[in-house]
Amino acid sequence: MRIKNQLHTISTLAIIVLIIFISFFILSASRYKTAKSVLNIADEVQIKFFVSTSLRDQYLLYREDRPKEQWVLVNQNLDNLLENLQALKGEDKNIKDIVEAKKKGSALFQRIIANTSLIKSSLPNKQVYSELDNRLISQMYIRHNEFFNGVQEIRSGTEKEVEKTYRNLITAITVLAVILSFIVIFSSWHLNRLISRRLEILHVGADIISQGKLEYRINIEGEDEFSDLATSFNSMTSKLQMNNEQLELERARSVQNAKLASLGEMSASIAHEINNPLSVIQLTNSRLLEKIKKEQLATDTIVHSLEKNQGAVDRINKIIKGLTNLSRDAVNEDIQVFSVENMMEQVLSLVGQKLNYANVELRVLIPPGDLFIESSLTQISQVLINLINNAHDAIANLPEKWIQVEFKLMPESALVQCSVTDSGNGIPPEIAEKIMQPFFTTKEVGKGTGLGLSISKEIIETLGGKFYIDHECPHTCFVFELPKIFNR
């Protein structure tokens, strides 16, 4: 059942209970009211009756008119009260009885009054009438006793009724409160259980999906708000999955593009690198040529010039060699044993001049006796170039400019650690997370692609290593660790 419907049922139930109890309450309340007024009237009847009996007894004592007349008045009051009582509870047997007894009692009193005139007369048998007087008085007492007892009975009955209806009222309220709180407690317990049970499935599902398993689908049985939610959740996840696949594809494409772009960038710097020795050769040659035309040259001078040219050619050779290494793309083809010293020489041939030009001091620390690695020379060179370039860019405007590249053999000897540290102040933590992401750059448009770090990280991880920022370091320090021997 849907939670909405459950809530609906519960509130309907509560309303029904409320209605039943309120009707019971109203009924009890009206009974209570009636009983209360009966009790009040019965009290009044009792009081009036006492007054009437005392007037009655005064009359019986002196047979004078005054108490008789007053008795008539009080009796009238009493009759009115009894009428009220009958109006309230006419069907009550006890009330009928007391009305009857009262009527007989009053009739007897009237008869006594009538008989009194016979006693006071001068009839010869007035003795008999005084005897009758006694009998009538006794009978009147009997009726009045009946009346009095009846009133007492009504009083105590009504008192009980008042008590009972009052108790009913209290009970109604208590039971209502108990039932309502039961409904509230039960329903909240039930809903809580239901919700948390069903929510748990959603929660677990969301956790699994957030771990990257976008193919996971949440399965909630039944038909309620939660299964609806799960359905939307699932459709959201499948859209996400689709988007993700798309993104992955695009990223791969971008990475490829970026590789091409960085190749272009590199060719530019290569041209720049080659250009220098070339112009040295050109200059030396043309000077030599000029001098040869004008004058006889000493062998020394010629040798010196040729040596200078040879140096320039050597340099070009070196660059080209580095380039050949870089151009090889596939990792596996590239795996070879190489010396870290040699690799650094090649790297420096590509970035050295740029650093010199920017007045950056470069320190390279390699353990004594060199270090040999079996891995991809080209790829690692590219990572180093990336890192050195980044460092160069980062410290360009600092007063103190240095970059330190340090290689270390890790204690277990199976790992080589390389750190590239520059004189900068570290990466602010708020962007440290982001900088590894592809296309994140702080550089102006056209200058940086934002792919350098992400490509480097990918390369190191492909080579079975770790790539990270060392936040312990007071300066900016990028570190990678590689297996000394790449395990295919």
């Binding site: 007989k104 009739a107 006694n134 006794s138 009997i142 006793n145």
Partner: protein, 334 residues
């Protein structure tokens, strides 16, 4: 939740079964002899017996049937019965006679049960025509006192008429044979005679002059020795009272059956009686009235009205039905 409900229900069932079993636990019935009559005033005793209320309370009642209460009381005094149903008049004379008796409870009261039925052919059509006539009466019974009261109410005394002692069941015959001109009697004979005389009969009665009671009475000795039996007895009679109140039709059927009277007759007199098991002022006032009457008419050698409260045993009624005991609420003492 259903299970809880079910368990509760089972529990209730089991416990009610238990109660039943305990209630039915056999205990020997105590045997008592009650002397009572076929008069309407004995209705509660008949009903209690017929409906098994005595047995329910652990009593086996042996009936000792009488024509009227006076002889029923006598059989108690003569140790033939343990208890009697009897009107207050025989009780009065028994008390004046210093018999050690207890009145246990009034079981019925009526101011319409007594009347004088007269033959018109004896020249009686008004009350004062009774003067000088032979009037049948059972001495020292309610009929005796009623006759006196009715005469007084009509300005006469006993000296104005000729009382003829007749047993209740002989009244009809006596009237038929014209041995008497009128009879002071009660039901059922009264209504039977009325029907018998038809147009020749005339009834004189006065609700204002006399309230008769019928009571349960026993010897003091028996009561003090068997207070438990008295309680059981009162309890059974109170049950009968409730039954009569709630099922008057069935009660009338029972009375028709046990008294061998027609249902019509039973029904005709039914409303003249209020079957209340009680102890109230009525019995005391009436006893005192009658005591004064008895003293005045020299029907006793006593000269003082006795304290009748001493002859009332209220413990049983008080414990069985406290509200039925009304002698502590005296209207004119308030």
């Amino acid at each position: 939740m259903f299970r809880v409900f079910f368990l509760l229900l089972m529990g209730l069932l089991v416990s009610s079964c238990n109660k039943h079993i305990f209630a039915k636990a056999p205990s020997p019935l105590k045997k008592i002899t009650i002397a009572y009559t076929f008069q309407p005033q004995s209705t509660l005793i008949h009903v209690a017996k017929e409906k098994g209320f005595f047995a329910e309370e652990g009593l086996e009642v042996v009936p000792l049937m009488h024509q009227y209460g006076k002889t029923a009381l006598r059989s108690v005094l003569e140790n033939e019965a343990d208890l009697a149903t009897v009107a207050e008049t025989p009780l009065l004379f028994s008390i004046l006679n210093d018999d050690k008796i207890f009145i246990l409870s009034t079981i019925v009261a009526s101011s319409q049960n007594s009347a004088i039925i007269a033959r018109k052919d004896a020249g009686i059509s008004k009350a004062h025509h009774l003067k000088g006539k032979k009037i049948g009466v059972t001495p020292l019974t309610t009929g005796d006192f009623f006759l006196d009261s009715l005469l007084i109410a009509n300005g006469m005394t006993r000296k104005d008429i000729i009382p003829v002692p007749v047993l209740p069941d002989d009244m009809e015959e006596a009237l038929k044979l014209k041995k008497i001109d009128a009879a002071s009697t009660w039901n059922y004979p009264l209504t039977q005679i009325k029907h018998l005389l038809g147009d020749n009969g005339i009834l004189f009665f006065d609700e204002d002059i006399y309230t008769e009671t019928f009571n349960l009475a026993s010897k003091q000795d028996f009561v003090t020795k068997n207070p438990e039996i008295i309680k059981q007895l009162i309890r059974a009679v109170v049950k009968a009272q409730e039954f009569v109140k709630n099922h008057p039709k069935e009660a009338q059927e029972i009375m028709a059956r046990v008294t061998n009277k027609t249902p019509e007759l039973i029904k005709e007199v039914w409303n003249s009686f209020s079957f209340n098991v009680t102890l109230d002022q009525t019995i005391l006032i009436t006893l005192e009235d009658e005591a004064r009457w008895a003293i005045k008419n020299k029907l006793t050698d006593k000269t003082k009205v006795p304290d009748f409260k001493k002859f009332i045993y209220a413990d049983a009624l008080k414990s069985v039905s406290p509200s039925a005991y009304k002698l502590n609420r005296v209207e004119n003492e308030n």
